[in-house]
Symmetry: C2
Subunit: 222 residues, 2 copies
């Protein structure tokens, strides 16, 4: 923290080292410069202490600017949250979409592909996933509605794939919806423990979770 050479205009202190190689945000985000820096700083702090646990002054300080300067880049603190939440939800949905479309036909390959994408997203962007999942309460109703629409599309893909597999006689479960809850829920939770130092690669986790999902959906033959 001390002795750092400023890397941003007018100097920057704190957090900077975490942002150097930044893959905090998916590449779909076109934000750059100070705007991008604010997104990254918000992601790190909101992810740790929640939207209401971080002040505008702290965000600004971490980004190396004055609180008032934020408002040249953003309409409000809530708009900053919305940007992160939407970014996360859209990235997640698009990954699921691509995964599903790449494995049409065979339900087993399709669910494997979906689970890999689902888990992969939560392992690659754990902070984004956390903010997107648990800070929705801070969004105004109109914004929340837009987010939930995207979320619904993602849920629907899992639901349809499981239902399709059941209809095709490949899957057999006590309850479709609960199966999706387990598969979806366990993947979401990856964002809460994922850490490269645990020794797993993202691919390890994706593959193992996909295997578990298939086991869960298929009945034992004895």
């Amino acid at each position: 923290m001390e002795g750092m050479i400023a890397m941003a205009p007018r100097g920057t202190q704190g957090l900077a080292e975490e942002l150097v190689d930044n893959h905090l945000l998916p590449s779909r985000s076109e934000a750059d410069g100070t705007h991008r820096r604010l997104l990254e700083v918000a992601l790190l702090t909101f992810g740790e202490r929640g939207f209401h646990g971080v002040s505008v002054r702290e965000l600004a300080a971490a980004a190396g600017i004055q609180p008032s300067s934020m408002y040249a880049h953003l309409a409000s603190k809530e708009a900053l949250l919305m940007e992160l939440v939407m970014l996360g939800h859209e990235e997640h949905r698009d990954r699921l979409r691509a995964a599903r479309d790449s494995a049409a036909g065979d339900p087993i390959e399709q669910i494997r592909s979906l689970v890999r994408a689902h888990v992969g997203f939560h392992a690659e962007y754990p902070l984004l996933a956390r903010v997107a999942n648990r800070e929705l309460h801070a969004l105004k109703p109109a914004r929340l509605e837009k987010v939930l629409k995207v979320r619904g599309e993602s849920e629907q893909m899992l639901q349809e794939t499981v239902a399709g597999g059941v209809a095709a006689g490949v899957f057999s479960v006590p309850d479709d919806w609960l199966a999706v809850a387990v598969i979806g829920g366990s993947g979401i939770r990856v964002a809460d423990w994922w850490n490269p130092e645990l020794g797993y690669t993202v691919e390890d986790v994706e593959e193992t979770y996909a295997e578990f999902a298939v086991r869960l959906l298929t009945e034992r033959r004895e």
Copy 2:
């Protein structure tokens, strides 16, 4: 909300109807009167909008007293959170303990029992589980440490049971730790969607999740 007759000393508005039959808190909590009411009100609001999203003025108003009167019952807002978090963690651990001990010997029955307890807790006390799981960032280090100790005991039970089943040749998984992550994580997530109006009984969900856990831990024979 309107036309309500006050049921608490000096009148109470809002939230009260949710507290009437209250099974919000496990019976292990000995708090009563205003103290209990504050716990319940904190649970409802923290559960929805997070610790930092709720002010002491709002807590007091919902409990039907003045903000300053809270401090006759509680040392601080953070202490109120600590009480909830600890309550949740201890109840969860004790339920797991009882479940494990009631089914010693057979790994399959043991994991079934543990999963039922794990899921049951999150379905019966979803708000408590949510607060206990995601508001830890607001606790001071000393308090956090105490909580994590309890959490560790719970994790250990799942971990040991899975490892025991693997050692006995009953379970077979690509990775012990990831299996526990899936089983534990999916159960925790129940607290985020559980709602009696979905049409499932708690027992339904417990039983189905237990079945899924067994499927996940046992290999297909083909």
